[in-house]
């Protein structure tokens, strides 16, 4: 499979959010027209084959697009996503719709919008769809569930990654420019890496979890997946709680004079690391160096302790959170999700307390790693996307990643495409101090400007 050159920008879905926003404000594009273009892509044979969309919210989306156009006509500007179609993972409450979590387990219609959906709508965004997820944000893909798993546009024989599978596939396939997913151990960043898009897990608490179907509240984060770093920054700012520095505030300032710590040993010392990933990360470090950043190797706290603490917290909290639902509807769970949740059944409150103490110690050690550097560079996943066939029958397969540490510590982390191996995308991960999403987006944007990686499109998805 060969990479194809990026197409010329077409009106509508291939415009960046900033470009589409400028066209909307100048009257060269309407929100209704933009929505139509996205709906056509979602409904196309190619788009439908991705199984990215759980529920298409056409009726409410059309009303929101009409309201967005009316607001522009009245001179009201509601923010950077005003008039832009977006989607949300099927874990966020959307008023009137069951929050399925991608499960057969029955769910009542949500009484109100989640905080994320409310912020999107208040900011003039057009909420066009709910998107596929691994069941209850646990493990997958599971081909025994009611809906088929989302497909990776780069190669449908390989997984999208998860659990924000539909959120990644929708952006990678050009169906939506930005989506909102969740990340408890890497569920925004790993599908972003596997699917060749940008994923931004913000600082813990920056995006409200109100109305989000929880997995592990200590580790759950909500944030955007998007086609570019600039799009991700604007989408994050649209759903952030008040008081945080704008993620888009430093876009375009470049990487010159910044110091980036490269956690190379976290990759090179692990036999699970695919050589293509290490080479892509070495190349990414070189690109940032050529862009004017100082690169120095750093050694963060040992990865295994993050896995121990994070896995214990996740397993204990997830099992407790699902206990009543399992008792009522255990038979309706998918096999893979149920087994993964039950893995926490023998953990005690004391075990959870111990893991939280470890997390606090690890967070302090990670904070020390940031002394003298502006950001940390490492890989998102240690290998490109594995084959779907490896997961047949709901089998759980371990995909090695470097994402969980930053759920444990709450530091913001950005995954962005940095190369390809065998036609599959590879993701670099940038991490910054808490609240410094603007630094992440500044460096990520500088990397995008210095390479053509972000311009690549999956073969066959180059044009509408």
């Amino acid at each position: 499979m060969s990479l194809v050159p990026a197409p010329d920008l077409a009106p509508g879905p291939d415009l960046s959010i900033a470009e589409a926003g400028a066209a909307l404000r100048a009257g060269r594009l309407t929100a209704a027209g933009l929505l139509d273009a996205h709906l056509a892509r979602i409904r196309s044979e190619q788009g439908a084959a991705l199984h990215a969309v759980e529920v298409l919210l056409e009726e409410t989306a059309r009303a929101e697009a009409a309201a967005a156009d009316a607001a522009f006509a009245e001179g009201r500007d509601l923010g950077p996503l005003h008039g832009i179609p977006v989607g949300v993972k099927a874990l966020f409450d959307v008023a009137g719709l069951p929050t399925t979590g991608g499960s057969r387990v029955p769910a009542p219609p949500a009484a109100a919008d989640s905080a994320v959906v409310a912020r999107l709508r208040a900011g003039g965004a057009v909420v066009a769809a709910t998107l596929a997820t691994y069941e209850f944000a646990t493990v997958g893909p599971d081909d025994t569930l009611a809906a088929p798993p989302a497909r990776n546009p780069w190669n449908p024989a390989h997984v999208t990654g998860g659990s924000s599978s539909g959120s990644a596939a929708a952006v990678a396939g050009g169906l939506l420019r930005a989506t909102i997913g969740t990340d408890t151990g890497g569920s925004i960043r790993s599908p972003a890496a596997f699917s060749g898009v940008v994923g931004l897990k913000p600082s813990h608490g920056r995006v409200s979890a109100a109305g989000l179907l929880p997995l592990s509240p200590s580790l759950d984060h909500a944030g955007p997946l998007a086609a570019t770093v600039g799009d991700a920054a604007l989408a994050l700012d649209a759903v952030s709680e008040p008081g945080w520095r704008p993620a888009a505030g430093a876009l375009g300032q470049g990487a010159e004079g910044l110091t980036i710590g490269y956690a190379r040993a976290w990759l090179a010392d692990d036999p699970m690391t695919d050589r293509s990933v290490l080479k892509a990360l070495d190349d990414a470090a070189s690109v940032l160096s050529l862009a004017g950043a100082r690169i120095r190797e750093v050694v963060p706290p040992e990865i295994e302790r993050f896995k121990d603490a994070g896995a214990t917290i996740l397993a204990a909290e997830a099992m407790e959170g699902h206990r009543a639902r399992i008792m009522a509807h255990g038979a309706a769970y998918g096999r893979a999700a149920l087994k993964s949740l039950l893995g926490g059944l023998l953990l005690t409150a004391e075990d959870l307390a111990l893991a939280r103490r470890a997390a606090a110690l690890l967070t302090a050690e990670m904070d020390e790693t940031f002394a003298g550097i502006d950001a940390l560079l490492t890989a998102t996943t240690l290998a490109p996307a594995p084959k779907v066939s490896a997961f047949a029958g709901g089998r759980a397969v371990w995909t090695p990643m470097r994402t969980l540490p930053f759920n444990v510590t709450g530091h913001p982390a950005l995954s962005l495409p940095c190369g390809f191996a065998g036609g599959l995308p590879i993701g670099a991960q940038l991490v910054a101090r808490k609240g410094a999403e603007d630094m992440l987006c500044r460096i990520g944007h500088a990397f995008e400007m210095a390479t053509d990686v972000a311009l690549q499109r999956p073969p066959g998805f180059a044009t509408a």
Partner: protein, 52 residues
């Protein structure tokens, strides 16, 4: 073959949840649970060392 303490406890917990899983699934859940126990044991030593 006699059941281990953790296997007995797991089966009791599964019964409390009203679950009757195939044996292969019980074995897999037990494996997950043992990995979780091993993580906790490692953390005990690590935290004690750091907090000493």
């Amino acid at each position: 073959m006699p059941k281990t303490t953790d296997e007995t406890e797991l089966r009791e917990r599964l019964a409390e949840l009203g679950l009757d899983l195939p044996e292969a699934d019980v074995a897999e859940v037990l494996d997950w649970a043992r990995r979780g126990r091993a993580s906790v044991e490692r953390l005990k030593g690590w935290v004690a060392e750091r907090e000493a």
